[in-house]
Structures are given as C-alpha cells and as structure tokens.
C-alpha cells in the first residue's frame, strides 16, 4: 500500500516538473511552429545556473527565480539572434536548435564539470507532512502545489487577459492576428522567454530530486515531446494532463516492468497518434 502511494507521489512530482518543462515547449511549438529541441538544454542549464546561484549565497527560491530570469534573457537572445530569422524553415530550426543543444551541453560540461550535483531541498521542506496517517515528503508536495499554481496562473494569463487573448489568436491563425494589428513577432519573443524561464525554473526545482548531470537535457527532451504529442500542441490543458500521464507511466513502468519501461512510456503516445493525431486536447490542424 505504502509502495503504491509512494509511487503515486513520485509520479505527481515528476508530472509537475514535466509540466514546467512542457508548458513552454508546447506554447512555443503551438505559437511559433518551432520544434525547440533546445528545451531540454534550457532545463539543464537552468538547473546548473541555480546551483551556481546557490553556491553564491542565494536562498533556494531566490536562486530558482534568478535562474528563471537568466534563462528568460538567454532564451530571448537566442530567439532574437537566431530563431527569428528562420521563421517557417523547419529543417533550419531543427539544425539550429540541435546545434545549440550540443553547445549548451558542452558549455555546461566545461563550467560545471561532469560530476553530478545533488542539491539539498530548501530548508523547511526537508521533512515529511502527515496527511491521513501517511507521511508525505514535504518537498515533493511543494513541487506539485507549485506546478498547479503555475498552471493556474498560466491559465489565467491565457484565458483572462488581453495578452492571453492575443497569444491565443496567434496560435490559432498568425497571419489573421497580424492583420487585426497584433504584433505577433513581439508575442513570439515573449512566449519564448517565458518558456525558457519556466524550463529553467523547473530545472532548479527538479535538482533536489533528479540531481543535475550531463545528459539531463537528453533525458528530459523526449519526455517533453511525449507530453506535447499526448496532450496536443499549443494546448495548456493538454500539457498539464499529458505531464501527469507521463509522470505516472514513467514511475509505474519503472517499478513494475523495468525491462519494458520505455515501451510502456511510448505506447500510449503511439495509440494517441494513431487514433487522434492532433493529441488529446489539440485542435485539428
């Protein structure tokens, strides 16, 4: 019984982290049609930056926010200098984003060396919380709550603000949005920065659980891809539901069928693709 509960908690935690990663990925893909294969690298680089901010004396949450801000800047520079010139050229985007992920991986190896870094959970969240006579690890609960809070904030931003309405218009029909006077290019930069910041923030949040190591980027990127394919591109709800599905599949697959964990992870995605190619919550393209 406890094992199942523990697995479920770990699944929810991973789902929360995946949501932070894939919300940005999904929005970037939905709005800009850019398959941002650097997104896993943003997660890793954000985590490493958080490590450095922590070592420089910042508190955990301050370090996570500082890392998110830094990733927003880095994402903004990449968008302005590179991706903006490549609108509509999918092959060039694949080449550039993969090339960047090579570079970021190597830079991380150069600065932070190849040794894995395990961060401590923030003070105050290191213990357990008793809920209905079961002890829950406090930090994992906190991650889930933060992910839900960010999801709610993003939902409010997209559904209840003027900016969100403009972003939705851009996702649905970018040329028409331009015609009615929305500066879609500015929205692109904003969404890209936001996506990078969320990925970086997720990286720091995940560091006490996943630890930070070379190859974290390549581990996370396929998971984000599955989430987005499952949930449907450009859909926040899809990213949210997809993240938790993948979180559960990953943890339960690892525990129950270790030899076939990866197959289990990808099979539902294939099923969705075959039955509903636009994803669970995606709209027909």
């Amino acid at each position: 019984m406890t094992l199942w509960l523990l697995l479920a908690i770990n699944s929810v935690t991973l789902g929360g982290l995946l949501f932070l990663l894939s919300a940005g990925f999904s929005l970037i893909f939905g709005l800009m049609r850019i398959p941002n294969l650097t997104h896993g690298s943003f997660f890793m680089l954000g985590a490493y930056l958080g490590v450095s901010f922590l070592r420089a004396g910042l508190g955990f949450w301050a370090a996570a926010l500082a890392s998110a801000a830094a990733m927003a800047r880095i994402g903004g520079v990449i968008e302005r200098l590179l991706l903006r010139r490549l609108a509509g050229k999918a092959l060039a985007q694949v080449l550039v984003t993969l090339g960047l992920s090579f570079m970021i991986a190597d830079i991380c190896l150069m600065i932070w060396t190849g040794d894995p870094v395990q961060l401590e959970s923030p003070p105050g969240l290191r213990g357990t919380v008793p809920i209905a006579s079961v002890m829950f690890p406090a930090y994992r609960l906190a991650i889930s709550l933060i992910a839900v809070a960010i999801a709610a904030a993003l939902w409010l931003l997209l559904e209840r603000t003027r900016l969100g309405a403009m972003i939705r218009a851009g996702v649905d029909d970018a040329p028409m949005a331009r015609v009615v006077g929305i500066r879609v290019g500015r929205l692109f930069s904003l969404v890209f920065c936001l996506g990078a910041a969320l990925a970086g923030f997720g990286g720091v949040m995940g560091a006490p659980i996943l630890s930070v190591y070379p190859g974290l980027d390549a581990d996370m990127l396929p998971l984000a891809l599955i989430v987005v394919i499952l949930g449907g591109t450009g859909s926040l709800l899809g990213a949210f539901v997809g993240s938790f599905i993948v979180g559960f599949l990953y943890n339960f697959g690892q525990a129950l069928f270790p030899e076939l964990a990866y197959v289990i992870l990808f099979l539902p995605m294939l099923a969705v693709l075959v039955v509903r190619p636009q994803g669970l919550f995606g709209r027909q393209a």
Partner: protein, 325 residues
Amino acid sequence: MTRRWAFALAALVLASLPLWLANSYYVNIASQILIWAMLALSVNVLAGYAGLVSLGHAGLFGVACYAVALSAAAGMGHLAAAFVALAAILAATALFALLSLRASGISFLMITLALGQILWGIAYRWISLTQGDNGINLAARPAPFGISLESPPAFYLATLAVFCLVVAALEVFTASPFGASLAGTRDQPQRMTALGYHVWLIRFLAFLFSGLIAGVAGLFFVYYDKFVSPHALSLATSAEALLMVISGGTGTLIGPIAGAALVVIMKYVASAYIERWNLVLGAIFVAIVLFMPEGLVPGTLRLWRAVRGARVGGADLGPAGRGAP
C-alpha cells in the same frame, strides 16, 4: 555523362586512399566516414526527396546492428546473419512507416523520434535479450570470398565497394520515374493524389528503401566495431545522422557525404586537438544555418558561381539545385 565520369574518378581516388594515407588510423577514419555517410544518405532519401524528416533512423540502424550481432552469436554464418539483419530492418521499417506515415512535417519527426526511443529502450532495458549497456560482441569480421577484412585497408576497400553500390543505387533511384514521383509527393502531395498517384504507397516504398540503406550501414557499423551497444540507437545518433544531411545539403547526393565527413572528422580528428569539439561542432551547425541555409555543398556551389560571375548557365547541379525544400 560528365557526372558519371566524375563519380568514377572520385571512386578511384577514394580507392587509392590507403596507398597515400600511411597511418592506418586515418584509413579507419575514412571507413567510419563511409559508414556514417551511408546512414546519412538513408536519412536523406526521406528528408531530401520525400520531405519527411526522420529523427528515428538510429533505431532502424540499431535493429540491423543487433540482428546481425545476435544471429552471429546464435551460431549463424555471416551471410545468413546479414540476410536476417536486412529482413529484420525491412520488417521494422515497415512498422515504422505504417505508424509514422499517418502524419507529415513536424509530427512525422516526433513520431519517428518516439519510435526510435522505443527501440533504444528495448536495447537498453531488455537485458535478457540485448545484455543492456554491456552490448554484444561480434566474434570476427566476415571474410567474403576468403578475403580477410581484419586489416584496416581491406575493410576500407570492402566498405567503399558497398558504398559505391549504395551511391549508384541512389543515383538510379533519383533519376527514375519513381524518384520523380517521390519528389512530387514532397512538393505537391495533393496534386499528386489528383493525378492518380498513390502518395502513401510511394512514401511507404521510399521508407523501405531508406531502411534498407540504413540496414547496410548498420551491418558495416557492427563489422567495424565488432560490437554494438544501445548507444547506436540513441537519439544522439539519429540527431547526428540528420545533422549530417541538413548541414551537407538536403536532397543532394554529395551533401550527406560531406556532412558525414565533417561530423566524423570533428569527432575523431579535431577532438584530438580541440577539447571542446562538441561546442565547435554545434557552432558550425548554427553558422551553416545562418550563412548557408541550403547546406554546405549547395552553398559552396552557389558561392563558387557567384565568384565566377555571370557564367552560370552550364553548371550541372543534378538534384542539388532542386533539392532544398
């Protein structure tokens, strides 16, 4: 006609390589380039001529690798093992194609990526079959017609012979009516349908052809290393193969070969001098996109013609000029 002579001359120069490359280390590098070039050419059949960008080819490549290593380990002869491997890769490719050809564009890329990762997961985790991370050893390289391939020059020449066959097959393929109809499904799928072509079937057959070439590359990969591990199926391998194609020039015959040479040389030669070769390689990819978005080979041709000024008309680009989507 000049194109055919140029190929024959290039093959001769390549065949003489072991004579003037004294160090067998460099002969081995040349073999590696040929093997990777075959994989890149296989990706290019889909990415270049069909407009279907696959990020799962390492999975197919790996199926051939594991099939040959496993059947050799089970006591089969080399010829039988090679046939088993090619049959296995055709079956795997057919399955890939059935699932992924429901989509095109970026969705196709994501589906192939996912399928490739499944195969990687099987190789990595199904330890009772694949021995996981420890990989599988191949006892010896094959000895066709009694000629041992253990020495680097002999192996290089054998690889070159098969490589030339692959290039010739691709040359015939692109010039054939089938190649033209494949390019048609890339540029105008709806009009092709309206003209009565079976777009799905054309893409399916092209996928099988691509898989077959990837299988040949896989065979030689295993013969070269006498070892296969899950790394052969990793996303990194798929990405490298695709990067070779895009950086060299999508939809050209020479481009993927040049891209393979670039990546392998960076990996094995430049890495001896530059510690951060991955950084340099990534920077090169970004620079290619910025300055030669059509790829190295068409880009260089364009620059060369720009330098030569107005004398444009006669240059025969082959598929290069039409290639980039």
